[in-house]
């Protein structure tokens, strides 16, 4: 109990109006489906709403609507498509608070993050890609869209992942059928309403909810020209197999096990912040999370001590409290996975530590955790945990750090902490990762391309490069 306790500072829920149920958004209208499932608030396990399950017939209808809309959408002058996207961007800005609260309720992430990180990026992605719609001839990838894009997104940044998918697809003249994750469908459904508010022509955006089976039906649909998937490497592999032999274009953004490398000449206090942000931001539910700390042996003891001291000020709790740093784990299934791998970490001989935390009794919660004494041979150094769990390894020289950082089938991101520019650039050159953060971490911008090497996927989202995936 510190001298300065922060009183509860709850963000009000009343700004968002959640309907008891939602249908599928196809061809500009919501329509009921035969089956439904519930979506819950992972912080309290309360049911938020009932959401439809799209079956084969529904998927077919959605793809057909997208196909019909494609002809006129792709024929529109780019400047007109741009203005639709600018409208959407503006509406998102105006409704940001409402959407942020909804995102925190459905996903479990702290309101501070949905309000200050997710929503601003969502709006920014639409603004950025709106501006490309009438400038494709300057981008270097041609000007011919692919057709109908099937897009399947994960639960960790629901609305932001939707923006990363829909904005470039629409700007380039494609139409989409998007399936949000089964545990986080609500912000996508609200987005459907925003499309209506913007008077987007029916069929240009279709939102169908469901679980793995719906996703499979969608990506395997024969009349889809493009598949874009963000999720686990396991499912990504299945999708790559399913499009083999077809003409479907594919982009994948999969898992990671990023190394966050701290050299002895790092700006130490900022490096500690960067490590903490790297693994505890969004409860560690981040594909590019810095889940392996590689710290130079000469400073490892003092660094880990500073890290533990900093972790003790992390606030775990109600996602709608404005002072919460770490929210709920998204689902019971994910919580089980994180717990299991953590047990394995201890069993394999790594030393486990968490700061004292009062975790609520209902909902899905996991205290921020670090494992020291981890080596490359440990499962917790190789497998993606996708939770607030950091594995700490050491290295002696830059060459060794690079070798260890690259020694993984993944290759999404990496962090480098040092005050020496030539070291940073040389190490960055040799790391096999698609996004490299030096003296910072988890920084995203619509102008900055994002995507992985190796089994972290292929294709880039964001920037001029992000147009390529949606053009012929």
């Amino acid at each position: 109990m510190s001298l300065f306790e922060y009183a509860p500072a709850p963000e009000s829920r009343s700004i968002v109006d959640i309907a008891p149920s939602y249908g599928l958004f196809i061809d500009g209208e919501f329509a009921a489906a035969k089956n439904a499932f519930k979506t819950v608030n992972p912080a309290t396990e309360e049911v938020l709403s009932e959401v439809a399950v799209a079956d084969a017939e529904d998927v077919d209808r959605a793809v057909a609507a997208a196909r019909r809309a494609f002809e006129s959408w792709s024929a529109l002058p780019g400047a007109e498509r741009a203005k639709y996207l600018f409208r959407i961007a503006r509406i998102i800005q105006e409704r940001s608070r409402e959407l942020a609260v909804l995102e925190s309720l459905d996903n479990g992430k702290p309101i501070k993050e949905s309000r200050d990180v997710d929503l601003p990026l969502v709006a920014a992605h639409f603004f950025y890609y709106a501006g490309w719609a009438d400038k494709l001839s300057y981008a270097g990838y041609g000007t011919t869209p692919l057709g109908v894009a099937a897009q399947v997104i994960p639960w960790n940044f629901p609305l932001m992942m939707l923006a990363w998918k829909i904005a470039p697809a629409l700007a380039t003249g494609n139409t989409v059928v998007l399936k949000p994750a089964e545990t986080t469908p609500l912000t996508a459904l609200f987005f459907a309403d925003i499309c209506r508010q913007a008077e987007l022509p029916p069929g240009v955006v279709n939102i169908i909810t469901g679980a793995g089976e719906t996703g499979r039906l969608l990506v395997e649909h024969p009349d889809v020209n493009k598949v874009a998937f963000t999720g686990s490497t396991e499912v990504g592999r299945q999708i790559a197999q399913s499009v083999a032999g077809t003409r479907k274009r594919l982009s994948l953004e999969l898992g990671g096990k990023a190394a966050n490398i701290v050299f002895d000449d790092a700006p130490i206090d900022q490096a500690v912040e960067g490590i903490v942000n790297g693994i505890f931001f969004n409860q560690g539910h981040v594909c590019c999370a810095g889940s392996r700390l590689l710290v130079q042996e000469s400073i490892s003891d003092s660094f880990v001590e500073a890290l533990k001291r900093r972790m003790a000020t992390l606030r775990v709790g109600d996602p709608l409290d404005k002072n919460t740093d770490i929210g709920a784990i998204n689902s019971a299934a994910q919580l089980a996975r994180i717990s299991d791998l953590s047990e394995i970490g201890s069993a394999e001989g790594a030393e486990r530590w968490s700061p004292p935390c009062d975790l609520p009794t209902s909902g899905y919660w996991f205290a921020p955790t670090i494992f020291t004494g981890v080596t490359q041979a440990h499962r917790i150094a190789r497998e993606e945990i996708f939770g607030p769990v950091l594995s700490v390894l050491t290295f002696r020289t830059p060459a060794e750090a690079i070798e260890k950082a690259n020694n993984t089938p993944y290759g999404l991101s990496a962090g480098i902490w040092s005050e020496k520019g030539s070291l940073i650039l040389a190490v960055a050159d040799k790391l096999r990762a698609g996004v490299i953060w030096a003296n910072t971490f988890n920084k995203f911008d619509p102008t900055s391309p994002f995507g992985g090497y190796k089994e972290s996927g292929y294709g880039r989202e964001g920037g001029r490069h992000g147009l390529e995936a949606y053009l012929a």
């Binding site: 001298l3 300065f4 960067g274 910072t440």
Partner: protein, 308 residues
């Protein structure tokens, strides 16, 4: 004797060997801490603590005995309408004004800080600066706020700065010494860290950001760097040093952000007027207005608080 005597070259190595500060990172961290939402009971407690931490200051050429007596009276009883309102931490004035403040404050527990050493520029011979210090203490000051020689620091003559602080500390006798780094003139956060360590190694009891007389005064990121420095210094040497941001802190909202900074960086041990002060003047009335709003439930206006 709290100075750690070091030959010049070692002093240079120690200061240059401190970890660097990344500007973008430190400013982002300070800004993130500034988004903490401090409401209701937490806010009330923070306001009272902030009031107790105020070094109520007047450092004008136009200061007179009448002016400083009035300020000292306000320092003792900031809100005449509420006897429960705590007194401030100290009153801070020029050496010539010390005797008049002493008459009002003596025996009250509110400290009497005097600026010294040819404040604010520090551009005077050493013997003048030491005389300045001794006279202020003799007149009743129990705290001395000195300025470092920025010229020597920026020219890399760390020993000159160090020796001067040691000399002033000695001249100050029993009074506790705050060393003003004038962070707005140091140029980089790295220099703020180095100047902080330099002052602490030389025996400072408190490190202070600014004189309030140059355009850039206290900021959250600068204070964050100084809080990290005092935390690390204590971990390394066992000695605790206080921090005083001064100048430009005008609202309760600002003051609360500083308290959050302390809370999540240096920790509980610095959450007390013995180890943290605000160098401010108009801040006090804003704290009083916010305090009153919490007790009465409506917004107050300036007419309801004394001008001094």
């Amino acid at each position: 004797m709290t100075a750690t005597m070091l030959p010049a070259s070692d002093l240079r190595s120690v200061l240059r060997g401190l970890p660097g500060v990344d500007k973008v990172g430190v400013e982002a961290r300070a800004a993130a801490l500034g988004t903490r939402s401090i409401k209701t009971t937490a806010k009330a407690a923070a306001i009272d603590l902030a009031i107790r931490m105020v070094d109520l200051t007047t450092l004008e050429g136009a200061d007179t005995p009448g002016k400083v007596r009035a300020l000292a009276a306000k320092a003792l009883r900031p809100d005449p309408a509420d006897p429960n309102c705590p007194s401030v931490g100290a009153v801070c004035v020029y050496p010539a004004m010390v005797p008049y403040v002493y008459e009002v404050l003596k025996g009250s527990g509110v400290h009497l800080a005097s600026v010294a050493t040819a404040f604010p520029s520090g551009q005077a011979p050493l013997d003048v600066k030491l005389a300045d210090t001794r006279d202020a203490v003799a007149a009743g000051a129990d705290e001395i706020d000195m300025v470092i020689s920025r010229g020597s620091f920026l020219a890399g003559d760390y020993s000159a700065v160090f020796d001067e602080i040691v000399a002033v500390k000695e001249a100050a006798g029993p009074a506790h010494l705050k060393v003003i780094l004038e962070t707005g003139e140091l140029g980089t956060y790295d220099n703020v860290r180095r100047a902080s360590w330099l002052a602490m190694l030389a025996g400072a009891d408190f490190i202070k950001t600014s004189t309030g007389k140059v355009p850039v005064a206290a900021t959250l990121p600068v204070t964050l760097v100084m809080l990290e420095a005092v935390r690390d210094f204590r971990a390394q040497t066992g000695r605790q040093v206080g921090v005083k941001p001064a100048g430009g802190i005008r609202t309760t909202k600002d003051a609360v952000k500083y308290l959050v900074l302390i809370n999540e960086t240096a920790g509980d041990d610095w959450l007390s007027p013995d180890w943290f002060r605000f160098g401010a003047s108009s801040l006090l009335n804003d704290l009083l207005m916010q305090r009153t709003k919490l007790t009465t439930g409506h917004y107050a206006g300036p007419d309801y608080f004394t001008v001094d």
